[in-house]
């Protein structure tokens, strides 16, 4: 029932909220094209900071490393998250479930400094087993803190899914494995994609946890960015930020379009079904 009007005050609040959320990002993009090194003085249009960014060997190497870690993190976190979501939604009762669901929700809110410090101390304790600190330790740390987010995304889809489709497949003689792979998995696949992307961005953005568990030769992109912005405003970082915002916007636009198309198709199917 949406016949209750949205009041003007509420709309105004929404507008102010969005200005607050987006103004800083827009200022980053605008000043990434600034000729002047002083970020707040407009010196004319220029692409020089983008050129400088791509010539910055250290930043490019770190970016490549971060993308690799993010890719591997997202893939592992999606597999573990799918398993955890199945456990949470489909196994209502088993011994240790309370602890398990606690292990899923706690990482969602745990301050990063605590996660980072505790994982580092674990890696130091396991020194002989895990080898030195580096990409492997960052990957393990990132998988650990992103699994919770992926699990929440997948389990909410799994929960609202219509189980009668699975029942139908089983009644038609498909075994559990077949049913899972040809019915359940395709239905929840949008949430797998969403979870993968979420883990990818969380891993790509992480500064604090990576700083704790990284070795001296495994500097990630946020660590390089952090050390350069700590010294003040740097136009190269503005260029990097703009590229990141561009990538996220494209991703969002594509996923919105896919959702819109899926919604249309579902509506059409429903109409067809109603007509028959």
């Amino acid at each position: 029932m949406s016949n209750v009007r949205v009041s003007t005050t509420a709309k105004l609040f929404l507008l102010i909220g969005f200005v607050f959320l987006y103004a800083p990002m827009i200022s980053l993009i605008v000043y990434s094209f600034n000729e002047s090194r002083l970020v707040t003085v407009w010196g004319g249009f220029s692409m020089q900071w983008y050129v400088a960014l791509f010539q910055n060997q250290q930043m490019m190497a770190a970016a490549l490393r971060s993308l690799q870690i993010a890719f591997l993190t997202a893939t592992a976190a999606t597999v573990l998250g799918l398993a955890a979501a199945l456990v949470l939604v489909r196994f209502p009762l088993f011994r240790g479930r309370t602890l398990f669901s606690g292990l899923i929700t706690a990482p969602l809110v745990m301050p990063e400094v605590i996660t980072g410090l505790s994982l580092l101390l674990l890696f130091v304790a396991l020194d002989g087993w895990i080898g030195g600190r580096g990409m492997l330790t960052i990957w393990i740390a990132h998988v650990t803190f992103t699994v919770a987010f992926v699990t929440i995304v997948i389990s909410s889809r799994l929960r609202e899914m219509d189980t009668s489709l699975e029942e139908a497949a089983m009644d038609l003689g498909a075994n559990r494995i077949r049913t899972f792979f040809s019915v359940t998995l395709p239905i929840i696949s949008p949430s797998l994609a969403a979870g993968w992307l979420l883990a990818f961005t969380l891993s790509l953005d992480d500064l604090v946890i990576a700083s704790f568990v990284a070795g001296p030769s495994s500097t990630t992109l946020p660590m390089v960015v952090f050390s350069s912005v700590r010294l003040g405003v740097s136009p190269e970082v503005n260029a990097l930020a703009s590229l990141l915002i561009l990538a996220v916007s494209i991703g969002a636009a594509v996923s919105w379009w896919l959702m819109w198309r899926a919604g249309k198709a579902r509506q059409r199917d429903l109409q067809n079904a109603a007509q028959e």
Partner: protein, 306 residues
């Protein structure tokens, strides 16, 4: 026909479900739960010039087993005013920021929940989108806006509202702006998820019975959205309490937060036992909020299940 179909969930499980439970369970136990025990252990040891830089708790030399429980780190935290005031100011900053997020986020979530479904999805995506770009970069954007010769001061000077730049950068105000900015989406999302489920007929009934919109809001909508308010508040309060990046980039030396203190103990002073004690005390402070979050999050999930 339908009566014959078993409602037992277990039938639809993929096989070997113990393996499906065991893998994520073992991962999280080993990499999330066990590390806390190690933090606790090291918080009772002494700093040493060695690698790793702390003493062992349990020693077995010449058939003598000695267990050294060193409480000095905790005593040090208690006696040095720096730590106590850092904890207190972190709690204060996190609490006020949570309240500000609620005051800004509630009307936003409310407005979005009242839109038609197509608009809702677009607006919701616009709320989430910023948190998909790096937090570090978004906080850094505020440096360019808030500093003395930054965008905000230039704008206000140009308007003639002020004669000289406001000193916002490196103050508590800047930290509040940063925290509210970074965590606002985490407040809006659970509030929206709650508000969108409300039955609008309740408000119609209230209005038919003569209640003014504000009265209806305070007696119906607000109490019904309690679970969303608590979930959103905890999603902001808990991580904000241990925030490092925001006080580091926007705050000044006066705005000590415990996450930054922990970082400095670890990276600058290389005192792992004290850093562990700082983390342990922070965890103890956070147990109640985390349980509260877990309870309400679980309840929301249960509600979604029905």
């Amino acid at each position: 026909m339908k009566g014959n179909v078993s409602r037992d969930w277990r039938r639809w499980l993929p096989p070997r479900h113990w393996l499906i439970t065991a893998i994520p369970y073992a991962w999280l136990l080993l990499f999330f739960a066990v590390p806390f025990l190690i933090v606790l252990k090291i918080s009772f040891s002494e700093a040493a010039i060695a690698m790793p830089p702390y003493t062992e708790l349990v020693e077995y030399v010449d058939q003598v087993l000695t267990i050294n429980l060193n409480l000095a780190n905790y005593a040090y935290l208690w006696e040095d005013a720096l730590y106590v005031s850092a904890y207190l100011s972190s709690i204060k900053i996190a609490a006020i920021s949570t309240l500000l997020c609620l005051l800004i986020g509630y009307p936003m979530a409310y407005a979005i929940a009242r839109m038609d479904p197509a608009t809702r999805n677009v607006l919701l995506m616009l709320v989430v989108l910023p948190s998909w770009t790096s937090l570090l970069i978004r906080v850094y954007a505020w440096v360019g806006i808030l500093k003395n010769n930054g965008l905000l001061n230039n704008f206000l000077l140009w308007l003639g509202l002020i004669d000289q730049p406001l000193a916002i950068m490196n103050t508590a105000t800047a930290v509040y702006i940063g925290v509210v900015y970074a965590y606002l989406p985490f407040m809006v999302l659970p509030l929206y998820a709650n508000l969108v489920k409300h039955d609008q007929r309740l408000l119609e009934a209230a209005s038919d019975l003569g209640a003014r919109p504000w009265r209806a809001f305070f007696t119906i909508t607000l109490p019904l959205s309690r679970a969303g308010i608590i979930a959103g508040s905890m999603l902001v309060f808990i991580p904000a309490l241990g925030e490092f990046v925001i006080p580091e980039l926007l705050g000044g030396p006066g705005n000590l937060m415990i996450g930054k203190v922990l970082w400095q103990e670890f990276f600058n002073n290389r005192d792992w036992p004290v850093a562990s004690a700082v983390a342990t005390v922070m965890l103890i402070l956070l147990i109640a909020p985390i349980m509260l979050f877990h309870h309400y999050q679980g309840r929301e999930l249960e509600a979604a299940r029905r």
